[in-house]
Every structure is written in C-alpha cells, then in structure tokens.
C-alpha cells in the first residue's frame, strides 16, 4: 500500500539520523586527534588557528551537522561527478582519511568490488542451497534426508566462520594444494588463464560464507515450512486430494516464504559486517579489512564512514523487508496492519 510504504520510509529517516548520531557521538569520545601528527614546532597560537580552521572547536552538534552535510550531500555529488562526468560538487571539501590523506569514499569505492564479489556470491550460493534443502526437509520430517540436513545445519551453525576458513585452508591449501589460501587482489583478469586463477582463489572464501549462511537459512526455512504445513488450509488441500507436491510448493510455500523473506533481507547486510572475519582469514582486501586496518591506525573518518555505511545497509534492508512483506502478505493489503514487533 502506498500510504503504508510512505509511512515506513518516513520512519526510516529519523532512524538513519539517530544511528549516525550514535556512531558520531561514540567517535567523538575517542582519544584520537587529527592534529596529533603535526610537528611539535608549530607555535600554540597557529595550532589554535588550525584547530579552528578544521572546525574542531565547534560544539559537537555543529560538527555533526557538518558531517551530515558532507556525507549525505557532498559525497553523493562527487560520486555523481565521477560517474556522469558532471561538475556539481566543484571544489567542496570531502571527508578525508587521516591515514592516506585521500578522500575516504574513493578508497571505499576501490575496495567495494572485492567484497561484493566474494560476499555477495557466497550469500547467493548459500541461499540457493538453503531454500530447497529446508523445504525438502520440512516436507519429509524425520526422514533420512531431514535428519542428515538438520545435523549438517546444526553443525554448520556452530562452526564459526573463522574456524571453517582455517579448516578449509588446512585441508585444501596446505594438505591438497588445490586452492590458494591468500586472495591476490592485484590479479587482473585478462585471459582465460587469469580467469581460472581468479575463480580458484574465490572458491575458499566463497565456500566459507556460503556454508555458514546455508546452515542458518535452511534451519529457518525448515522451521517456517513446518509451521506452514500445520495450518488448516493445508489439511483442506490434502483432503481435496491434491498431490503432496502441489500442497507443499503451491500452498504451503507462499505462507512459509513470508518470514523467510524477512530473514533473507535482514541477513544480507549482516553478511557484509560478518565478512570482516572471512576477509581477514583469506586476506581479501575488501571493506571489512579496510575497517580493521582503519581501526588499528586510529583513522576515525574512515571508521566512521564505514560504520555508517554498514548501518545504512541494515536500515535499507529493514525497509525492503517491510515493503516486501506488504506486497506478499494479503492481510496487510486488506488493511489489517500487523503489530510491530510481534512476529
């Protein structure tokens, strides 16, 4: 419903503001100082003038306002200039990393493809394994397939990604020597040979992410499907004499997909954050590794930008999940609004 969608979007804006503020306030308490690297020979009055020029003396709310303007207006303008060749942003100041003295967003855009490829592919493969496995296991509860799938899912759920990564390296890199343990990001795909190399080095990190997500999502899919199969209209469909296939795929799946869609949408951004660990294990220089190095180097603008980006992804996924719910659930279309927070 358009009204409902608009209301949801309107609620999202203060959420974004609040989350940005929480992160900003947390970082404001940090001991780091952009003036720390300046030579000690600078006289105190010049130092004070420089602090003023950098806006460090302004009250925190003013600084927050400046930062909001930079992040949500200036940076997108620069991005547009870069993509479309326009000159909207002009000479306006950008968010600069203390580490590289280059605009933060340029580095982020440089690192984004690695993360998207490895993490996105891993999540996609995980979902493609999990959905059929969960549906089939729920349709035949206590069967051999169900028991094996449940066991594997419980095991996969309990294996942290930093351990599966290490295990895979021990078996497939150290033991068998099939795949490299370190992701070489300088590799340029120019021929069939380098393409093969690229695919080979993606196998291990992608599998780690795929396995973990397949385990989590299939557990959820199975539970949702089992609940859906206990509904009254399923009994009716069976009593009508429909085939089990038609009952499961035609009637139960639609109801079962509702909660699963939410989980899928909400899981996607968490995967980005969770990939911090996988990227660290395989030395993929994506966004997660960028965050870790920025934290270790006390590079506050970079840390702040990345954390806010992760937060924005989560908020956007929340919004998408909610809108999808509105489209999929006929009860919401009919105007029977669900109470927030009661699943």
């Amino acid at each position: 419903m358009p009204g409902r969608a608009l209301r949801r979007i309107a609620v999202t804006l203060p959420t974004v503001l609040l989350i940005s503020f929480v992160i900003f306030a947390l970082l404001d308490a940090a001991p780091g100082d952009p003036m720390a690297q300046m030579p000690l020979t600078i006289p105190p009055d010049v130092r004070a003038a420089m602090r003023e020029a950098l806006g460090l003396d302004a009250p925190m709310l003013t600084q927050f306002g400046h930062w909001l303007w930079q992040f949500f207006v200036i940076e997108p303008l620069h991005l547009m200039d870069r993509l479309l060749g326009t000159g909207l942003a002009g000479e306006s100041a950008r968010v600069i990393s203390w580490q590289t003295r280059a605009p933060v967003m340029d580095t982020v855009i440089e690192r984004l493809p690695q993360t998207l490829w490895v993490v996105g592919l891993g999540y996609l493969i995980g979902v493609l394994i999990a959905l059929p496995a969960g549906i089939y296991a729920a349709a035949r509860p206590h069967s051999r397939f169900d028991r094996i799938a449940t066991l594997l899912a419980t095991l996969g759920f309990s294996l942290p990604t930093f351990f599966t990564g290490v295990l895979l390296i021990v078996v497939f890199s150290v033991g068998l020597g099939w795949f490299p343990s370190i992701y070489d990001t300088t590799l340029r795909v120019t021929s069939l040979d380098t393409l093969g190399q690229q695919l080979r080095q993606m196998v291990l990190p992608v599998s780690v992410i795929a396995l973990y997500n397949a385990a989590q999502i299939s557990r959820f899919m199975r539970a949702a499907m089992r609940d859906a199969l206990q509904e009254g209209h399923i009994r009716t469909a069976r009593a009508k004499g429909l085939s089990e296939r038609a009952v499961v795929l035609g009637h139960a799946l639609r109801g079962a997909m509702l909660p699963v869609v939410t989980v899928l949408a909400l899981g996607a951004p968490q995967v980005f954050a969770g990939a911090i660990i996988t990227e660290q294990v395989f030395r993929v220089n994506g966004l997660g590794q960028l965050l870790i190095t920025a934290i270790q180097a006390n590079d506050l603008p970079m840390v702040q930008t990345l954390t806010v980006i992760f937060a924005l992804l989560i908020v956007a996924a929340n919004l998408l999940a909610d809108l999808a719910y509105g489209l999929l659930d006929p009860r919401i279309k009919a105007g029977v609004d669900r109470h927030h927070g009661r699943g």
């Binding site: 001991p31 759920f157 309990s158 930093f162 351990f163 290490v166 295990l167 965050l291 937060a311 927070g341």
Partner: protein, 303 residues
C-alpha cells in the same frame, strides 16, 4: 499451557513430564554432555594438569604431541593443553557474564514494555534501533576506543574483561527483550493473570508469581542462544586481534596464533577451533531440544 488438564492446578506433573521428554531427546543429551565435559574441563582441568599456561620454555618450541605436552607447544614453548584449558575459563566466564548482563537488560526492557502501556512504544522503538546497529563494527569500535582508558583503570586483563562483558552484553539484549514482551502480552490476556489482577495482586507480585515463571522457558532458550553468540563474539574479537592482550590465552587468540603455523603444525588450529564449535554445538542442541520439548504445539509429536 497444559490444555488437556481439566484443572490447571498443580504444575509439578507437567513439569516432570517435560523433564522426562527433555532427557529422552537425543540432541539434549548430546548437547548437555558436551557442555558438561567442557565445563568440567575448564573448572578442574587446570588443577589436574598443573602446568603453568604462561611458562615459557624456549628449548621446547613448536613441539608436536608428546606425553609431556599432549597437544604440543607454541612458538614460545608454552604448553598448549594448559593454554587451551586456561582459555576455556576465560571464554566461558566472558560468555556467562555477558549473557547475565544481556538477560538483566533484556528482561527489564521486555517486562517494562509488556507491563507499562505508555513505555511500550518508545522501548520497542529503542529495541528496533539497536537491532539496526551494525554490531560487529560497533564492537570493534568500542574495543578500540575504550581499551586504553579501562586498562589504565583496572589493569590490562581486568579492564579487557569488563569491556568485553559490557560490550557484548549491551549489544545482545534485544532478542530477549522482544521475546519477553511478546510473552508478557500473551500471558496478560490469559484468564489466570486477569483473575489475579481482579483479586488485587500488585503488579510486582503479578510479575514475580505469574508472569516470569510462565515465561521462563522461552527466556531460557534465548539465553542459551545468547551464550553461544557471546562466546562466538568473544572469540571473533580475539581472533581479529582486538580482544585480550596477546599473552593472555583465549580460544580465539589461540586460533589466531595457530594461523601463522598452519604450514608446519596444522593440528594446532584444530583444538581451540574445535572447543569453540563444541561449546556452540552443545548450547544449540540444548536450546533446540528445549524448544521442541516445551513447545505445546509439538508435544504430541515428539517420539
């Protein structure tokens, strides 16, 4: 809850039945045994083994398994079995304390939201907001920002323990709060709480006598999951090098150190990683069994 009983007077028979069903389930037995073994190992292992996990012996570096060192030694010649058991204490202590904190906050927020009508909307918005925070990046951030000040206050290890418990506890109460609020709302609509209210039972007694005992099982299940997550988070932070100081053994730290020696001693990574996995597996099996045994809809189905 017990639908079949004509009078819902004594709770004991139903509870005994639930307990019997619980123990009959294979998953619960396996999970319980795993956890019991780990807890016993953490509590009594160091007393029985008696080697100092911090004792450096440079003549016995990077050894494989031998009677003197069943799991071998690390790059400084420290006994890995002793370090694994010391790590178990730290990981379990952090996990249990953080879960305790999360339970405290989550129960408080959930109860208030469920019982006090005008607090419901703001508290649930707060919960939703916290659920939308990027937790791992924020945890990393907290580690970076507050490590030095706290270490100056209480020493590097104590400060890190407090910080770890606070950070994990403060970021994992939301699920418990949402769940408990739902339970409170459901229970308040039931006859017996309405009867108690009509008899003039004050809200505090209503919560203590009628609501909390009946909401106990879902809270326990989510606390178990919270424990598993807390141990995973602590290991992840240590694994990323942002946890306890380097010479302080935790499972995540041991795994991180093992990575540099994967080529020469791949077995070294298996023990700490296996210990983390066994803990989480035990807790998950236990929680799954609890849910299955206590869910009234599934009661008839459990063999």
């Amino acid at each position: 809850m017990a639908v079949a009983e004509p009078r819902a007077l004594p709770a004991a028979p139903g509870r005994a039945r639930a307990l019997r069903r619980l123990l009959a389930a294979r998953g619960v037995a396996t999970g319980g045994a795993l956890l019991a073994a780990l807890l016993l190992g953490a509590l009594f292992g160091p007393l029985l083994w008696g080697q100092d996990p911090a004792h450096i012996d440079l003549t016995a570096r990077n050894l494989g398994a031998s009677p003197a060192h069943p799991l071998g030694t690390d790059q400084l010649g420290r006994d890995l079995l002793a370090r694994l058991m010391a790590g178990a204490r730290v990981s379990l202590a952090v996990g249990l304390s953080a879960t305790g904190l999360a339970l405290l906050i989550g129960t408080g927020v959930g109860l208030l939201a469920g019982m006090v009508r005008w607090l419901d909307a703001p508290l649930m918005r707060l919960t939703d907001l916290c659920l939308a925070l990027p937790l791992l990046p924020l945890l990393l951030l907290m580690m970076m920002l507050f490590r030095a000040p706290l270490a100056a206050l209480t020493g590097p290890e104590g400060g890190m323990f407090l910080l770890m418990v606070a950070a994990i506890g403060l970021t994992s109460w939301m699920q418990i709060a949402r769940l408990l609020r739902g339970e409170v709302l459901r229970l308040q609509a039931l006859e017996f709480t309405r009867a108690a209210r009509a008899l003039g039972v004050p809200p505090a007694r209503l919560v203590a006598r009628h609501i909390l005992p009946n909401a106990l099982s879902p809270i326990l299940v989510s606390a178990a999951i919270c424990l598993a997550q807390a141990i995973l988070t602590e290991s992840a932070l240590s694994f990323l090098g942002l946890g306890f100081p380097p010479d302080f053994p935790t499972w995540g730290r041991l795994l991180l150190e093992a990575i540099d020696h994967l080529q020469t001693n791949p077995g070294r990574a298996l023990w700490p990683g296996g210990a983390i996995t066994a803990t989480v597996l035990g807790v998950t099996l236990l929680a799954d069994g609890l849910t299955e045994a206590l869910d009234p809809r599934r009661r008839t189905r459990v063999p």
